[in-house]
């Protein structure tokens, strides 16, 4: 009554990796895959397929469902039966994906095929046959399942592949701290914090903000020797709310004085996530303005959009404005300002407008018409604009200092900000 197994599908919907479905018939995963592919083909947008698909009549007694997420070209399926919490399955899928990323870097059907033996070992270690996740901490896993390192490749070329293992995995869980290995050594000790924030907002046609929120993540890349105990303090931590932390963070310390005290895992991890809630002002401002008029006529319509940056110093990069032109839209033709490009995807019926860089207080325009087979076209009532602002954070969160105890060296520290936005602008 839990996670029955995991299947990874390639872009065409064929399984490349699947865990052993020991307690069920061989048809069981196939039924799920078929149900999923069926649902995907029926949905008007692929993203519209319900992420939790109820799959009846699978031959086992009790209900079963297929939880799926898409990452890159791959689709990960968590098959579950019984009245389990689908959130449990999604959390596991998410964890498994991040493990794969950590092991192989970029995720693609190709990398998985190259390293299938590692993938299978990982499956075996992370998901117990009874359907409950077992070892998912990356540092502990690396003791058990060797990542495909250059060394092992070199050794296997030299024909001594088996020798690489006995030293490293002598004692899984020998470390007193589950998320950190013992005896980590680096020549140069460094730790990097990437503060990535995302603005999500809905704006009405007059530019009034209906809802906006900023969510931030502190990505950390830790390359420190030994077992350092860190204390990270921010100079302006007060507006951070709804925080969640990596298990290494001492929660009590945070609730006491908003300082992060932790023994970091080795390598990349997300230290904390937070919501930025500015005091006083209700909303974080949207860094651009959009003036749009869309007119629908019989079998088509026209639109006129103007975009202006509201920033004074920073540049909005990779601005991408989308408009769904409605059922039956067949083509569009536009005139755009210099340095911008547009295209219309007839399959998804979405008009894209890309601006590489919106420099401070510059403005751009998009004018055009579209045609549709529908007599009364119903384009979406909102533009979706996505953008990036490098070296910027909405919360202007500042790291005050990083103290290290337990080790003698002085590490190199790096802090970087990075912001993205996803704004729905209604017209």
């Amino acid at each position: 009554m839990a996670i029955d197994g995991l299947v990874i599908l390639d872009s065409t919907g064929r399984p490349i990796v699947q865990s052993g479905f020991r307690s069920t018939s061989p048809a069981y995963p196939l039924l799920h895959i078929e149900a999923l592919n069926d649902a995907l083909s029926k949905a008007p947008r692929p993203a519209d397929a319900d992420p939790v698909l109820y799959v009846p009549n699978t031959g086992i007694d009790g209900p079963s469902a297929c939880c799926h997420v898409k990452r890159g070209e791959l689709r990960f399926l968590g098959l579950m039966s019984g009245d389990t919490d689908p959130l449990y399955v999604f959390a596991f899928l998410e964890t498994f994906i991040s493990i794969l990323r950590d092991y192989f870097g970029q995720l693609s059907a190709e990398t998985l095929k190259e390293n299938f033996d590692v993938v299978y070992q990982l499956l075996e270690e992370t998901l117990d046959a009874g359907g409950h996740p077992s070892t998912t901490s990356i540092n502990a896993l690396k003791d058990i399942v060797l990542p495909p390192s250059l060394l092992s490749k070199v050794l296997s070329v030299a024909g001594v592949s088996g020798l690489a293992s006995p030293g490293t995995n002598s004692h899984p869980f020998a470390s007193p701290i589950p998320w950190r290995k013992v005896g980590v050594r680096y020549n140069s000790n460094e730790i990097f914090f990437d503060v990535a924030e995302e603005l999500k907002a809905v704006v009405n046609k007059n530019g009034g903000i209906i809802v906006s929120s900023v969510w931030g993540k502190v990505h950390t890349n830790c390359r420190l020797s030994g077992t350092p105990d860190l204390l990270l303090s921010f100079s302006n931590a007060q507006p951070l709310t709804d925080c969640s932390f990596h298990p290494c963070v001492r929660l009590q310390r945070w609730s006491r004085d908003k300082n992060l005290s932790f023994v970091p895992p080795d390598g990349r991890f997300i230290l904390m996530e937070y919501k930025y809630t500015p005091g006083g002002v209700h909303h974080v401002a949207v860094p651009f303005a959009l003036k749009a008029s869309v007119d629908c006529e019989v079998n088509g319509g026209s639109f006129d959009v103007a975009l202006t940056s509201r920033l004074t110093t920073k540049v909005l990069e990779n601005m991408n404005v989308e408009l769904y032109l409605g059922e039956g839209a067949t083509s569009a033709s536009c005139v755009v300002s210099n340095n911008t490009s547009w295209n219309f995807d007839p399959r998804t019926r979405i008009l894209h407008w890309n601006i590489k860089a919106v420099s401070p207080s510059s403005s751009f325009s998009l004018k055009g018409t579209f045609s549709s087979t529908a007599e009364q076209p119903r384009p979406s009532h909102a533009f979706r604009a996505r953008f990036e602002i490098p070296q910027h954070s909405f919360s202007s969160l500042k790291v005050d200092q990083l103290k290290i105890t337990g080790e003698m060296y002085k590490p190199y520290k790096g802090v970087r900000g990075r912001s993205t936005g996803d704004v729905e602008w209604r017209w």
């Binding site: 009554m1 699947q18 469902a65 250059l150 088996g162 007193p176 709804d242 009590q252």
Partner: protein
């Protein structure tokens, strides 16, 4: 040590690597055998497949490894390679760890299909259980428990027992994971397995506890009494466990609390509410609360579940912002979380009312998400926020997604009924929708207007609509709708208008003109309208003719419902026309109908005022539990997990006293509770049928209730215990000598003592290895 050296070696090597690899890749490009990448294995040609057998038998480790990788590749392509089982099994004792791991993976897949061959290698597995490497020990146990041959059940039990006493927590965890498999293989091992579970429960390492909880749920979900002694310690360890263990243990503790702890008492006095919460329950909630900040959504939900089902009302608001936080993690998690928020919001919408902006629909939301958000917004309508919500609804009515449009327009109607001040605004919006060019908008608006009219008629113009405006009185709405009948295309909406209209010969004239082209739904209403008009005005000649025309068309209609209706009305009317007095015509409004005693009129006109308030809340998921599939897919699943209701009194809190936190209370003082465990154990030994559920993982509470009814008869209960005491004592002894814990227990038949005192040797031996390290780990949380 050696690991350390190798680490640094590895690092140096990887530094060298970049340069090395360039040269090596140069050299190996044409050496196909020495390909570093494994991609080659996936496209194994057939002749290579034939080679596998030979490779497996060869002496070279490299050959074997190569063959094993090929096999795993074939498995991942979905090919059945069980034919190589015999060759693979031989390699199980290989000294090369890499090969061995792959062999184990292979065996785990096929041990079930080839039990006889797997049995051949059992000796190796048993030997591996004493391997110095914990990884090998754990893997051996995993394979051993994966061989599904009932015959070896007792060997597996012994192996589990051995591993449960291992020093490595990793192996202990593997032991806990093996328990449910062993149980499903042969349920007659239940007593031994329960003993192992209770041993494992005493373990101080947080690692295996999650798996122990899982094993408990599978093997003996009714034996919650095993937890008495450990409850408080488990609550405190919660924070140090891994994510998955936290989820499993929390769900178990919630069930424990519901069964064993007293319900929080809420008393109302002069200065508001005061709550009385059992300290043990408080302990659970307070130790779970920090986990709201976990980065694992499943943990956050498990904590929310604990608060929702156990917490007193004042604590309930704590679940709001963690749940809202989950909405931002990913679209999939948003989808699941929304359905849980719906479950909570149905019982207490006020919790989420201030946060309604979190549920505003975005155009790129998944379809199901839009649906759930609309339901939520509907639930959250209040006097304060109805203006903003109404604006949103009106905006959604223009969306390109028809389902959203329908939901939004219905929500507007709902809002009109719920908040009287908004009625005027809602009606304006709805009437403007009727002018829309888009079919679904018009259709839904008409349907909603219909139910509003019905409702206002129901209140006899005294309430809401009529009182707010003259322009939108029911009659005005009806006449506006009738006026636009030609433009309303949606069949259901057309039928709806026809049904509403009572005195509009012109509408009938129009409808009769289109009669042949209509759907049966509209035809039925047209016939009915004709009949109604004739009843109101039997003497009118034009109406009579129209009636005859419509009825005769209907009589020869293709749809038998329409024919049927026409026949029925025809015969009804034949009596009416002669009876009805002509002085009644001209009365347009419903209120003026004085001829209530006239049965025909009753038949034709009554239904309109009888309206049930539709709340927009599906009734079918009332049973849905927070954190269950049924809440997410909106189905009432037969295998619903079930959360027991609170026990009336709760059990003695002294039961949970243990030497860890308090001076021990002499357990002999309470004969009944201390004997409960024994009663279950004995009954399960004598008559395993009672406690051995039929399914592999029984629904615990169901069995529990059976057990409880047995205990109500005290005499019977004691009689049973006494009769089994003898054999039980000896069995216990046997078990204990196996466990090498005999020294902890001097007295064979006082098992109560075993629970408490047996912990001492355990804590000593286990903590020697871990004690120091756990201090380092110790969280200041």
């Amino acid at each position: 040590m050696s690991g350390l050296n190798l680490e640094s070696f590895a690092e140096n090597a990887s530094r060298l690597g970049t340069r090395l690899q360039e040269t090596i890749s140069e050299h190996t490009r044409d050496l196909s055998i020495a390909r570093a990448s494994s991609a080659g294995y996936l496209d194994t040609p057939e002749e290579k497949v034939r080679l596998i057998r030979k490779q497996l038998d060869s002496n070279s480790d490299r050959e074997k490894l190569d063959a094993m990788k090929r096999l795993i590749a074939l498995i991942s392509k979905g090919r059945n390679v069980s034919e190589y089982f015999a060759q693979v099994v031989k390699n199980v004792a290989s000294h090369n760890l890499e090969i061995r791991k792959l062999v184990y993976i292979y065996l785990l897949r096929y041990a079930e299909q080839e039990p006889d061959l797997a049995l051949l290698s059992i000796n190796t597995f048993q030997k591996d259980l004493s391997d110095p490497n914990p990884l090998i020990r754990a893997m051996a146990l995993r394979v051993l428990s994966g061989i599904r041959v009932p015959m070896i059940g007792s060997i597996v039990v012994l192996a589990i027992k051995k591993c449960a006493a291992d020093i490595s927590p990793y192996v202990k965890k593997a032991a806990a994971q093996a328990i449910p498999k062993c149980y499903s293989l042969d349920s007659s091992h239940q007593p031994e397995l329960i003993t192992i579970i209770s041993t494992l429960l005493r373990d101080r390492s947080p690692l295996p506890i999650g798996s122990v909880a899982v094993a408990f749920e599978a093997v003996c979900p009714t034996r919650l009494d095993l937890f008495h002694q450990h409850y408080r310690r488990l609550c405190r360890t919660l924070i140090d466990m891994d994510d998955w263990g936290q989820v499993d243990l929390l769900n178990l503790l919630v069930r424990y609390a519901r069964t064993m702890l007293p319900r929080p008492v809420i008393t109302e006095d002069a200065d508001g509410q005061s709550e009385e919460v059992d300290p043990d329950l408080k302990l659970l909630l307070s130790s779970a609360e920090p986990l709201f900040q976990s980065n694992n959504p499943a943990v956050v939900l498990a904590v929310a579940r604990a608060f929702y089902y156990l917490g007193p009302p004042s604590e309930m608001k704590k679940i709001v912002s963690p749940l809202l936080r989950l909405l931002h993690i990913s679209p999939e998690i948003e989808r699941v979380t929304l359905s849980y928020i719906l479950v909570v919001a149905r019982s207490s919408p006020s919790l989420f009312t201030p946060h309604y902006t979190s549920f505003l629909v975005r155009t790129d939301d998944i379809r199901q998400v839009k649906k759930d958000k609309m339901q939520l917004l509907r639930l959250l309508i209040s006097a304060e926020n109805h203006q903003a919500l109404l604006r949103e609804f009106i905006y959604y009515a223009d969306d390109s997604d028809d389902d959203l449009v329908a939901d939004a327009i219905q929500a507007i109607g709902y809002c009109a009924r719920l908040v009287p001040e908004s009625t005027q605004q809602c009606l304006t919006a709805l009437m403007s929708f009727i002018q829309s060019k888009h079919d679904p908008v018009v259709a839904n608006a008409v349907l909603v207007l219909k139910s509003l009219v019905q409702l206002s008629l129901h209140h006899h113009q005294t309430l809401t609509i009529a009182s707010t405006s003259g322009a939108y009185s029911p009659m005005a709405i009806i006449s506006r709708l009738a006026y636009r009948i030609e433009e309303i295309r949606h069949p259901k909406a057309r039928a709806c208008v026809l049904w509403l209209v009572e005195w509009a010969p012109d509408v009938l004239r129009k409808a009769a003109g289109f009669f042949t082209k209509e759907t049966p739904y509209v035809k039925l209403q047209t016939v009915t309208l004709a009949a109604k008009l004739l009843v109101l005005c039997p003497s009118d000649r034009t109406l009579g003719l129209l009636n005859r025309y419509v009825l005769s068309l209907a009589r020869y209609d293709l749809n038998f419902d329409v024919r049927d209706r026409a026949r029925m009305l025809g015969s009804l009317l034949s009596g009416v026309t002669s009876v009805l007095h002509s002085d009644e015509d001209g009365h347009e409004d419903q209120g003026g109908v004085v001829l209530r005693r006239e049965q025909v009129k009753m038949v034709l006109f009554e239904g309109k005022q009888d309206v049930s308030l539709d709340t927009g809340i599906p009734v079918d998921d009332r049973h849905a539990l927070l954190g269950s599939l049924s809440a997410v897919v909106g189905r009432d699943l037969t295998y619903d997990s079930y959360l027991p209701d609170w026990l009336e009194e709760g059990t003695e809190s002294s039961l949970r006293d243990s030497e860890y936190d308090a001076p021990q209370v002499p357990i002999h003082a309470q004969p009944l509770p201390s004997a409960i465990p024994r009663s279950i154990a004995s009954s399960s030994k004598n008559t395993p049928v009672i406690l051995t559920p039929t399914g592999p993982s029984p629904s615990g509470s169901f069995v529990r209730q059976n057990g409880k009814s047995d205990w109500t008869d005290l005499d019977k209960f004691y009689a049973e215990t006494e009769s089994t005491e003898e054999e039980e004592g000896t069995e216990e002894e046997a078990v204990e000598s196996d466990e090498e814990e005999a020294d902890s227990n001097e007295d064979g038949d006082s098992e109560e003592e075993e629970e408490g005192s047996a912990e001492e040797p355990d804590t000593d031996s286990v903590d020697e290895g871990k004690g120091e390290s756990e201090d380092v780990l110790h969280h200041a949380r």
